[in-house]
């Protein structure tokens, strides 16, 4: 049994106030340099919701623009006027902050999120009008509290403030007096991940055309950890998201692996479906508040807007082979092993070429590669280069070193087999998976026959190992279901012919 990709959902949440209050670049700066010029200048560099929507890479993320169309527009894209202004796209949506704060409250089942009653009254109708929010979610919205209660929670009880247009409109309370794993800061981070995940998963279900009841298993692949002091990363984001999304028949679990986690999770989910363990599995993730404004200092220094002002979420629905949707080919898996080595060449061998060699394939047999699909607008001004392009160059250079390709072909290879990056720098979010919505469509339309998705992770950040990590998988066209062979005996054929002749003769006699 093959696993197929039935659909994908992509969500962005514009959270400018969280850039100021929750991004670690800013929270760190407030501790080490509270009077810094950067913190003073920052608010003037924040984009409005309309500006964040009318931005080419964001429009690509939700599916209103293809990567090829984006690539045809010269970067930097933040200097271009984008004529696309819809907050909804065929893959998902860009949610404004006010709707998101209400959704965070709906996602909180421990009375930790409080919102100003006037704020709730002002924006409740907007959330209800959101095309993926149903009555079950709206029923979770509370009426709100008086401003004094919010101020008391923030000023006296260590709650994390929720701001909108620089005004305190709510708070996330701590879930424990002493346990730092349940602090207001951690609860805020986790609830934001959970809520943005809900948006992505609801779009994925809609796009895949399945019923919520069909989903049997959900795997979350974000980079947050939920748990308490006795089990710091206990989990389970996946099941908590499935609850809010109304997936009554689903269980779930979390898979972690830094930026490589989505690729690891896609392979696990496809394997579960292929083995027949579950019929429909969703791979999903919400966004990360800590990374908001991560490169903000460089953006402000260069007079740019703060481009890291959105949380990202994605979800992919995998199901049993339907003879139509693209297959996740579990025979062509790349994996970086403990013994692979960490040099770029060894990494590329492990992730790309080992898998191809095992299957007798050449690098040019893969129509499209997808590595780290970071939006270069964000990283280039911060000295981070263009990781998307860098990856394709590395694959090409490795192919040249192996003698599989001429050096002169490098540029053409990068153009034809690569793609520009458009995803926000949310760690796990840009790691290959943003391409899946487009890859599914391009395979279905016959534009391409396959794509290799590579997820890479920097494990050293957790200080447990210095090893690099990554895995890869190939999505390919579905050959279609073979006609079930019907055993027709010679006798049956003879009797059918005899009957036809008899009918023919009878027809002649009647004339």
């Amino acid at each position: 049994m093959n696993a197929v990709i039935k659909g994908a959902g992509y969500a962005l949440v514009h959270t400018p106030d969280m850039v100021i209050h929750n991004g670690t670049t800013q929270t760190t700066e407030r501790i080490v340099n509270p009077e810094s010029e950067y913190l003073k200048a920052l608010p003037d560099h924040l984009r409005t919701f309309e500006q964040a929507v009318a931005y080419y890479p964001n429009q690509t993320y939700i599916g209103n623009l293809t990567p090829d169309e984006l690539g045809a527009i010269p970067a930097p894209w933040n200097e271009q006027e984008c004529p696309l202004t819809s907050r909804y796209g065929k893959f998902g949506q860009i949610m404004p902050q006010e709707e998101f704060l209400l959704l965070m409250q709906a996602c909180d089942v421990f009375d930790l999120v409080i919102l100003d009653a006037a704020f709730v009254a002002e924006h409740k109708a907007a959330l209800a009008a959101n095309e993926i929010i149903d009555d079950s979610i709206m029923a979770r919205i509370k009426d709100g509290v008086a401003p004094a209660e919010i101020e008391k929670a923030v000023n006296e009880e260590h709650a994390e403030g929720l701001y909108h247009n620089n005004k305190l409109v709510g708070a996330v309370k701590r879930a424990h007096d002493i346990d730092t794993n349940l602090s207001a800061h951690v609860m805020h981070e986790n609830l934001a991940s959970k809520a943005s995940n809900v948006v992505a998963i609801l779009h994925a279900i809609k796009n895949a055309g399945i019923a919520k009841e069909d989903v049997e298993y959900v795997i979350d692949c974000a980079e947050e950890a939920c748990g308490d002091m006795n089990q710091r990363g206990g989990g389970n984001f996946a099941k908590s998201v499935a609850e809010i999304a109304g997936l009554v028949n689903a269980s779930g679990s979390d898979i972690r692996g830094f930026c490589a986690a989505p690729a690891h999770t896609m392979i696990s989910a496809a394997s579960l479906v292929a083995a027949g363990s579950y019929k429909t599995v969703i791979v999903t993730s919400g966004g990360c508040t800590a990374k908001l404004g991560m490169n903000g200092k460089d953006h402000v220094k260069k007079g740019l807007p703060i481009l890291e002002d959105v949380l990202g979420g994605f979800a992919v629905v995998l199901g049993q082979d339907d003879g139509v949707n693209p297959i996740v080919n579990l025979n062509i898996l790349g994996r970086h092993k403990v013994g692979s080595g960490s040099g770029p060449q060894q990494v590329t061998e492990a992730l790309v070429f080992d898998a191809l060699d095992r299957n007798g394939m050449k690098v040019t047999d893969i129509d499209k590669f997808a590595g780290e699909l970071h939006n270069s607008d964000v990283l280039k001004p911060a000295g981070g280069g263009d990781p998307a392009e860098g990856f394709f160059k590395v694959v090409a250079a490795a192919a040249i070193k192996r003698g599989d390709m001429e050096k002169a072909a490098m540029k053409t290879f990068v153009k034809e087999h690569g793609m520009v990056g458009w995803a926000p720098t949310q760690g796990h979010i840009p790691s290959g998976v943003p391409c899946l919505g487009f890859v599914r469509e391009d395979i279905l339309s016959g534009k391409i026959k396959n794509a290799m998705v590579v997820g890479k992770g920097s494990l050293f950040l957790g200080r447990m190992t210095n090893l690099f990590d990554g895995v890869s998988f190939v999505v390919e066209a579905n050959p279609g279901k073979k006609e079930e062979e019907k055993g027709v005996s010679e006798e049956e054929v003879k009797s059918l012919i005899a009957k036809a002749l008899k009918d023919f003769a009878a027809g002649l006699l009647a004339e």
Partner: protein
């Protein structure tokens, strides 16, 4: 530069003496190499890490620079760095590194 790496560079400079430490970079492009080089010579330009306001003036090179390449066994270099040499803008990286060394290095000839 990563705050933890800044701390380790600072500790090595204290332990072995700054004149005995060479920092070898592997950053993917010129500007990032320059920022890292500036951090271990003039101090952390982002004012965030342990090297803020600490001008170690260490000797610093990028692994793709000719001076460094000459120190390696060519076979090992080709195996470990050869591919990235093809991918990176080596000239841009080298000129960025040279300008930082000219300005801030305290221990070069």
């Amino acid at each position: 530069m990563d705050l933890e790496n800044q701390r380790r560079v600072k500790e090595f400079a204290e332990q072995y003496g700054p004149e005995n430490v060479v920092v070898l970079l592997g950053a993917a492009e010129g500007e990032a190499s320059g920022l890292a080089a500036e951090t271990v010579t003039a101090g952390d330009p982002t004012y965030a890490g342990p090297l803020t306001g600490v001008s170690l003036g260490l000797t610093v090179y990028h692994v793709c620079e000719e001076e460094v390449k000459a120190e390696f066994d060519p076979a090992v270099y080709d195996e470990q760095v050869g591919m990235m040499e093809m991918v990176l803008d080596v000239d841009d990286i080298a000129s960025e590194m040279q300008s930082i060394r000219d300005e801030y290095c305290k221990y070069l000839g």
